[in-house]
Symmetry: C2
Subunit: 522 residues, 2 copies
């Protein structure tokens, strides 16, 4: 044990707990942990140029690996920079272990320049939060953090199922640099608690009633097995399959049962659910609108629709009961044809759908550009996974792509990014290049916060206000931006150009970026 620091004890415990990657933007108070990474290659440090990249990458990693990455963040301001993407991760139910360095215990009362209330910040996004107080306890603390990240209890889609949680450990610098008397034995990571038994009969009765039923799927109900179970139920009973829009992770494409995504606006959801007598929430929450509007309800489920809840983990048992021996209807492999002409909000998605490679991981932050088109365009593409904008805090797509590619180095990652959202955490591209990851980013450049344009129209605002949703003056040039960050980039104005560039990007190793210029208003 001689020469081991507390920081090294932490790193060894993380490795013992199955953690392999640390997305880091360290500072002085984390230098001993950085030094420990040097000695322990089993825990790989990935440098990020901004903390929101690190936390978003940990989200993408956790969604694909289904176990935590760790982040390494520098005091309160470093954590603050990562909070927005931790918010998204919290809504996704992603397991993450945040390590936040703090000042040495004796230094805190001095209120030195970087001192701030780390605990209050961490509390807003963490299901588990601890401040280490002894160097000998560091190993135990880290093991507890890993276990907590894998336990249910987050505020992700399925609070009762197997989704994970955000665990934050605040580590005073003096504990990191001190020598522990003993290394805490890596605690066995607790298996997620078995879900409590659920009474399936009422839901089964609803499904057999002959009345119109829809299943709304989220969480693990959107995994391959979950969707197959749902598909069996749908085929046997005629139930409709709805899915949460912008899911944490959804299996899609050829061989997978199709779902109909829940609409974005409340009035659209109400129309969508009109006539549905029973809405079964399989790992999902009751639909609520993202925002309130004057005179409109935030709970758009029609008054005549009865709501039933079913943990996603019981979907297969339910299928065995109501659809024994039934095979689900699945999407055929039948990608859309390449559309011709200038790129628009209406046709770009078909190019992606036509060329999407097998087992792609699609990180979808296309927002308005993809809201109504992407789902359809990729329904009959080869099988793939889609990772969505779970918490509506923009700036997660490029970091999530980084993490997903680290978790699945053998799968192609396709990142679909709206222009305004891309600008939040564009620094992620540099890490794409540094790690030479197979990520193809398509920037959907409509020169606007298009979603805000729609909102401004709703409130009747005029020209000057519309300027605050306008991203031209000056135009953003994503080819130059990507080049500056080390990612080869091209620009496409037509579907043919996008197709050629997309094929090329997928055929070459390493990251690429394509700026897709969408005709304004189209």
């Amino acid at each position: 044990m001689s020469g081991m620091t507390g920081a090294e004890a932490m790193a060894r415990t993380l490795i013992g707990g199955g953690v392999e990657v640390c997305f880091a933007n360290p500072g002085t108070s984390e230098m001993h942990f950085v030094a420990a990474l040097d000695r322990l290659p089993a825990l790989r440090g990935v440098l990020c140029l901004f903390e929101g990249v690190a936390t978003g990458a940990a989200d993408g990693y956790g969604r694909m690996a289904r176990r935590p990455a760790t982040t390494l963040l520098h005091l309160g301001p470093g954590l603050a920079n990562g909070v927005a993407n931790l918010h998204n991760a919290r809504r996704a139910g992603t397991p993450i272990v945040n390590l936040v360095g703090d000042h040495a215990l004796g230094h805190k009362p001095l209120d030195s320049l970087l001192e701030s209330d780390i605990d209050a910040l961490a509390g807003t996004v963490s299901a588990w939060l601890r401040r280490s107080s002894t160097v000998d306890g560091l190993g135990t603390d880290v093991a507890a953090a890993v276990a907590a990240s894998l336990a249910p209890g987050g505020t992700g889609p399925d609070r009762t199922g197997t989704s994970g949680a955000i665990a934050t450990l605040v580590v005073p610098a003096d504990l990191s640099w001190s020598a522990p008397a003993r290394l805490a034995p890596p605690e066995p990571v607790a298996a997620p608690a078995a879900p409590s038994p659920v009474e399936l009969d009422p839901v089964a009765a609803v499904l057999r009633s002959g009345e119109p039923v829809a299943l709304l799927l989220d969480g693990t109900a959107l995994s391959g097995p979950g969707l197959r179970a749902a598909g069996r139920i749908a085929r046997a009973t005629g139930a409709r399959l709805l899915s949460r829009n912008w899911p944490a992770r959804q299996r899609r494409g050829a061989g997978v049962p199709l779902t109909e995504p829940l609409a974005y606006r409340g009035e659209q959801i109400t129309a969508q659910l009109t006539g549905v007598r029973h809405l079964v929430l399989a790992g999902a929450r009751e639909p609520v609108t993202s925002f309130a509007y004057p005179g409109r309800t935030g709970r758009p489920t029609p008054a005549g629709t009865r709501i039933h809840a079913l943990p996603a983990d019981f979907l297969e048992a339910l299928a065995d009961e109501v659809a024994p021996g039934v095979t689900p209807v699945v999407a055929r492999l039948d990608p859309p044809p390449l559309p011709p002409g200038e790129l628009t909000a209406g046709n770009w998605a078909a190019v992606v759908g036509a060329l999407l490679p097998e087992e792609a991981i699609v990180c979808d932050e296309s927002i308005t550009a993809g809201l109504t088109t992407l789902h359809t365009a990729t329904a009959s593409s080869p099988p793939h996974d889609v990772l969505g904008l779970t918490g509506l805090s923009i700036g997660q797509g490029l970091p999530v792509a980084l993490g997903a590619a680290m978790a699945c180095p053998d799968r192609p990652v396709v990142c679909l990014e709206a222009d305004g959202s891309a600008m939040y955490t564009l620094q992620a591209l540099w890490s794409h290049a540094r790690e030479q990851l197979d990520i193809t980013t398509v920037i959907l450049n409509n020169r606007a916060y298009a979603i805000l344009r729609g909102e401004l129209d709703r409130v009747g605002a005029g020209a000057a206000a519309a300027g605050l949703a306008d991203l031209s003056r000056p135009d953003l040039d994503f080819v130059s931006l990507a080049t500056g960050l080390g990612v080869p980039a091209t620009r496409a104005w037509t579907t043919e150009e996008l197709a050629r560039q997309f094929r090329h990007a997928l055929s070459e190793p390493g990251p690429h970026l394509i700026e897709a210029m969408l005709l304004p208003g189209a």
Copy 2:
């Protein structure tokens, strides 16, 4: 009053309180405020592509205007993205009014996707925090926020003087869109409380004692009048003048008394203060180190040095007592000669010092690249103001430059940015271009988090760890990055190239960026 929304009442009250600029990154819950801006051109909306740009710009604006700008932030995640630069602003004692939109009151219990604990986040950086609860109270709430931002009580350099504070008002969307029955009369903004009388005699006695005295200046003691008073005292009594490093705002250059900046490291500060019998803190706090290190003290003032406190506002009265009729020694106008050759960490600052225009505002986030050289190189340049990295949370320089230029459109702004720090909030360049501000940014590209390299050397880390402080692989190309954000950019490898490009940038209106390539290790 017909047709007026709560949002418009807020905007009118801000205008009545002297607020002229709103640095905004709005979302759906802020659309009615955006619409109000449309009708009220006296409150100018400046769009920022990331909230950290908006809050940093409000910091720069407040430091120069000495009155608040307002920010417009979107719910908890939007505020979180702005927290790091609010941390810096808090340490600077800058007046800022944050308007944070929240969900409508009835919508909050639905826990919709963007719901989070705004109040906990805001509490970490706000001296004043209120959540509006009635539309008729909005005007009063906003007036109180403006007044609070101008009251002392922040944690800036001079807690007893005239520095401002961060006031955050959380505004539920339904209050913004509702119609108030009455418009609250704009409350008169309370004048900052007159400082309590201070007993000057003990400090005067110290200064007359003949024992070695140093004045450590911060806050308003670093203003032109404050420095002249300090200079009179120094000339009359032989006291040394020290200044906080990275001040919120310091007057410097020809005609201004010189100060010796406090060193960064504790052992350097101890050496600097050795032999000083009395340290008079004029608007300053006792020196503490930024970080703790094993076996070193965080309070580096030598044991034999007695500390005395004096609010900065009493510096002139003290000068009248101990230095009546005395004229201070001031810096002559004598810029350094242009150094020849390849650019290094040691010579770039002399180029800036040689060419700095009169009344420049120097936003200094050069960190290690400028720590030991910039102060000397610009000491005899034309008179100017320097705005420093007050809270050590990197990513404030480019946003602060945006705000300073908005506050002082007739003054040239020079932004000196380390490469790693620039990448935190690079989006600010786009707002530089959009507003066509006279900002010349010099990126000091040493391809490293150089400050971390130094820290890693201290802990004896090896090559892999050093990779986490390395910003090459791939090299950042700031010319491409600036071009992509609409700012004309050039690259300089030699002092001659930097001089030519710097002159050109200053001679043309609008923003420019120069990437200064510093020889590694030099």
